[in-house]
Each structure stands twice: as structure tokens, then as C-alpha cells.
Amino acid sequence: MSNLIEARGLSKSFGSTRALDGISFSIPEGRIVGLIGPNGAGKTTALKAVLGLTRFEGELSVLGRDPYHKRHEIMQDVCFIADVAVLPRWIRVQQVVDFVAATHPRFRPEICEQFLSRTDIKRKSRVRELSKGMITQLHLALVMAIDAKLLVLDEPTLGLDILMRKQFYETLLNDYFDGQRTILVTTHQVEEIEHILTDLMFINRGRIVLDASMEDVAGRYVQLAVHPDRAEEARALKPIAIRQGLGRMHMVFADTPRNELEKLGETGVPSVADLFVALMQGDRS
């Protein structure tokens, strides 16, 4: 299977800060990759480079092309939702649907109609008259109707309530993802997307801290809930992170034999959020 995105030594500086510090990664077809990192880690910069919106050093190929110089070509196969605020506020719903239908060769109007008919969005409304949730639904309807190979989502649910956020990802998973498309998503609300991801990529201070499939993550990392009495024994096994819980200590271990840990307490797969915190703390020290 070919790689949809291939990056080697991708770098980008703003003045003296290095937003991306020579990162390399590849994203194959049919994956849902979560790009996760703290604010200012370089997530958005990486996405903008992929979308051809920013200049970079190093090698980057998206669908076999250089995104910086061939942006409008790759946009035939790539869709993105930057965040809810980017649909032009003056445009009418019908106008934006007609415009995308007329300018995007892979747009299938019937799918857009089908999705919009499930919402309360009126075709005559202007975007500025819609609620934030409705704007997201509209944007999603547009994007879902495009038969693209890669969908890039940069904080797509920012500012939405929890119901809307859940609905957004459910729609994406049920109605859009078909096993061949690739989705690259960044968000701060990791707990909401972890069940849909196939791959995880942690990025911090312009460098990749973790790049693994969810299966690998489950294989490598173990979370242990240990009674304080046995904390010293557990500490000896060198956890990468320790958190004080209610009557238990929660520790995250990397590449530690599972049977040894099972003797000390309850083991499980760490949540993406816990793993993220663990690896970010490790990265800082």
C-alpha cells in the first residue's frame, strides 16, 4: 500500500523558534491519524505544510506531489476543515453548495443534499445567521460529499458543545470513512477521538515524540494501578509517568514485561490522554 503522505526532515522556523524541527513520518492509505500535541507544538504548521499553505524546508510529498507548488492540484483529492470559523459569513447555504458543486470535480451533490436534509439548515440562510453547530454541519456536508483521498481536520470541533462534537465524529466514522480514505486530525479533545483513531502521532516542540498504530500503543504501553504499599516495587521497574489517584498510584510503563506488572496490581491500556501526559512530561525532563 502506498503512502499518501511522506515527510522527510520537514522543518519550519518562525524567526528563532523552530516550529518543526526536521520531522519525518509517513501516512499510508486508509488510516485515521491523530496528530496530538500541546499548543505551539507545531501541529498546525505541519498540517499547513501538508496542505500547501506554508513554505517549509525538507521533503514533503502528498499524493506524490509537492503540496507547496501544486496546491490546487492536490486539492482535487484533499479536503480540509480548518475550524468552524472559516466558511465565509456572507454566503448563502445554497450558494456555497452550488459553488463547490461547480468548482470541485469530485463533489457529489446528492450526498450533500442527503446530509443537509437531516439538519435544520435552511438553504436561503446566510452562514452568519447559522449557529456554530450548524456551520460545522454545513461544512461537514460539503466535505463529505467530496470523494477525496485525504481529509485534514484541524481542531474541527473547536467551540462546539459535547453533543455536537460526538455527532461530528460519529458522522465522520459512519458515513465518511470507508477504510480507503485517510483522515488526519488534530484536536485538544483527545478522549473524544481516541476510539476512532488507527494511528497516533504525538508532537512536541517541533519534534515527533510518538508515531505508532493503536495496536502498537496497546502492545508497548501499560498502565498500572498499584496500591501505595507496593509503589516502591513498581517504581523500580522505571515507569515513565506516575500519577496519584484515589488510594491507588497510576503508573505508565513502556516496554516493560506485562507479567511482572500484573503481579503488582491492575494493568490496562493507558488512555491517549494519560499516555500523552506521560510522554510530554518525559519529553520535558
Binding site: 499547513k48 499553505l53 513554505r55 496546491r71 480548518a82 472559516v86 456572507w90 459553488f99 470541485h104
Partner: protein, 345 residues
């Protein structure tokens, strides 16, 4: 409809003033001409309209006539014009006012055509002035507003090249807006002729007074030629405004206006000359200055057809060609900025 047509259409969706403003002017024109209050105010006229030169037989007018007639403010006031004319012939006499229609009918036919030609020219001037201002602000906004509200990220998510996008905006400002101005002028002339005829028919006068087919044809042609000249002559100005719009981190108006103002002032201070100011003035005013140039001063006044041939002369002027070259360079700059300007921050 192809993609480029859709891009142009999108501009009309966003900038409704481009079609709404001329529509409003037309509506006011209709309303005003029927109620007889098209232009309000006093007239200041020496009543020598059409009396110099050949008497304006073919709807021709001299510069002076135009200047005078441009100050005519009301169809109603046509009777004042008549009065003044009589006054001119018989000073000191008093006249009772007569209905406008009647007064207009009292004018000899060739003078009527002159008056009609000037009224039509006024309609054209209003339309070009209104759409010219809209074109100015449209160009400044075209590549800036979507950067300000970040909707550029949506437009850039579509498989449209930046060159196409910028060219569509350029064509809207440099070509479509002048054509709309010309079309609105022609329609405006028809509306005015219809409205005034109606008014005259109701108030007692000769209906169809403003219907002067050859004047209508000549001024329509003049409007269209003016649109063509404006499209080409102002292309570098439009491209410059688009470049400013594409460049400005904030306030494209200041970014567009301050550099030339600064250049004029610096030149004045450093060399005490004003070549740049003259250059800018020529670039901004040439079509309008050329329009009414009297080709044979003294004997023949400027007719609508002279306006056409005057305008056509601009086509072959070196300024036209140089301007188009400059427009291409400025436009390339605007496209480059649109393409490569980093919107990350």
C-alpha cells in the same frame, strides 16, 4: 457555466453593491423623472445653448455648453432655461412661468437635442462615478476581506488556482464593472426618456420629447466606448489596488493610498518638482479629459461622436500600452502574494 464564470458570480454574491447600486440609481431616476424631481436646485445658464458654433444641429455641444448644462438641475427648471433665453433676447422683461413640458417644446429641435444629449451624458457620468467608486473599494477589499475573516482557508481548500481567483477579481473590477456602468447608463437613458415622456404627457406637453433616437444611439455608443477605454486604461490602477489588497496586513486603503501620496510629497521636498503628481493625475483623469477634447477649437463643438473618436485616440497612445504592461506586472505580484503569503499567523 465554467469555473471562471462561477468565480465571477461569487464576486457578485459577495459584493452586492456592484449590481444593487446601479439598480438603485435607476430606480431613483425613474421615480425622479416621473415626479419631475430628477435634479433639484437652481440653474445657472447664460442661455446660449447651441447658439455658438453650428447651433447644435446634430446634438452637438461645445465644452462651454456642457459645462453650463451640467449645472442644470431640474427638468422642471427647463422653463427657467426658456425664460432666461427670452430674457437674453429681451432683457428686463418679466415672464410668467410655464409648465416644463411646454417650455421644453418651445425650444427649437436642435436645441432640444443638445439638451437631451447633455442629460444623457449626465446619466452616464453619474453611473460611471458610482461604479467607479464601487470598483475602487471592491478592488481594495477583494484580496483582503477573506484574509481578515480567515475564509481564505475555505477558498484555498477548493481545487482553484490562486491565479484563477485573482484574475476573476481583476476581470470583475477592470472589465465587468465598466461594462455594468455602460449598460446601466444606456438603461438609465431609456428610463429617463420614458419617465420624462410620461411626465410630459401627464402635465401637458409633448410626450416623447426626450426620445431622440440618434442622440440615444450616439450616447449609448459613447458609453460603451468609455467602458472599453476605462477597462484598459484603468487596468494598472485596478492591478495596483489588488496588489495592495493582497499585501496589506491591515487597512488596504492606507497601504494603497499612502505610498503614492508619500512619493508626491518626497518629490516635492527633494526636487521641488511634481512629475509624479502629474503622472498620477494623467493616469486617473485621462479618459475624462480626452473625452471632451475639442478637436478643432473654435469652430465645431464636441459631439457624442467626437467623444467616441477622442476616446479611441487613447487606444493608440503609448500610455495605454505601458499601462497594460504595468498592469500585467502588478497582477503577477498580486497573484504571487496570494499564492505564497503565509497566513499561519
Amino acid at each position: 457555466m465554467n469555473r471562471f464564470a462561477w468565480l465571477m458570480r461569487r464576486e457578485l454574491w459577495e459584493h452586492r453593491a456592484i449590481w444593487a447600486a446601479p439598480a438603485i440609481v435607476l430606480a431613483l431616476l425613474l421615480l425622479g423623472s416621473v415626479t419631475g424631481n430628477v435634479f433639484m436646485g437652481d440653474i445657472h445658464i447664460n442661455a446660449d445653448i447651441g447658439q455658438d458654433g453650428d447651433g447644435g444641429g446634430q446634438g452637438t455641444l461645445s465644452d462651454e455648453d456642457i459645462a453650463e448644462l451640467e449645472s442644470i438641475r431640474g427638468v422642471e427648471d427647463l422653463h427657467k432655461l426658456e425664460r432666461l433665453e427670452k430674457l437674453d433676447k429681451a432683457p428686463g422683461q418679466n415672464f410668467n412661468s410655464v409648465p416644463a413640458g411646454e417650455a421644453f417644446s418651445m425650444l427649437p429641435p436642435e436645441k432640444r437635442e443638445s439638451v437631451v444629449a447633455v442629460i444623457y451624458a449626465l446619466v452616464t457620468a453619474v453611473m460611471f462615478l458610482v461604479l467607479g467608486s464601487i470598483g475602487f473599494f471592491y478592488s481594495l477589499d477583494a484580496l483582503y476581506s477573506d484574509r481578515r475573516d480567515r475564509s481564505i482557508l475555505f477558498w484555498k481548500s477548493l481545487p482553484l488556482s490562486d491565479a484563477e481567483t485573482v484574475l476573476a477579481k481583476f476581470c470583475m473590477a477592470a472589465a465587468a464593472i465598466p461594462v455594468i456602468a455602460a449598460a446601466a447608463s444606456v438603461v438609465g437613458q431609456l428610463v429617463l426618456a420614458t419617465g420624462v415622456s410620461l411626465k410630459f404627457a401627464l402635465t401637458g406637453g409633448e410626450a416623447g420629447l426626450l426620445w431622440a433616437p440618434q442622440v440615444l444611439a450616439a450616447s449609448s455608443l459613447a458609453s460603451l466606448v468609455l467602458a472599453l477605454v476605462c477597462a484598459l486604461w484603468f487596468a494598472p490602477l485596478v492591478a495596483y489596488l489588488l496588489l495592495a489588497s493582497s499585501w496589506a496586513p491591515k487597512s488596504p486603503f492606507l497601504w494603497a493610498v499612502l505610498p503614492p501620496v508619500a512619493a508626491v510629497m518626497l518629490e516635492k521636498i527633494a526636487f521641488g518638482t511634481k512629475h509624479f503628481a502629474e503622472f498620477m493625475q494623467h493616469r486617473m483623469m485621462a479618459p475624462f479629459e480626452t473625452m471632451f477634447r475639442d478637436q478643432n477649437p473654435g469652430d465645431t463643438p464636441v459631439a457624442a461622436m467626437d467623444v467616441v473618436s477622442n476616446l479611441l485616440q487613447l487606444f493608440t497612445s503609448p500610455g495605454m500600452l505601458l499601462g497594460l504592461v504595468a498592469a500585467a506586472a502588478l497582477l503577477a505580484g498580486a497573484i504571487w502574494l496570494r499564492r505564497y503569503r503565509d497566513e499561519t499567523t
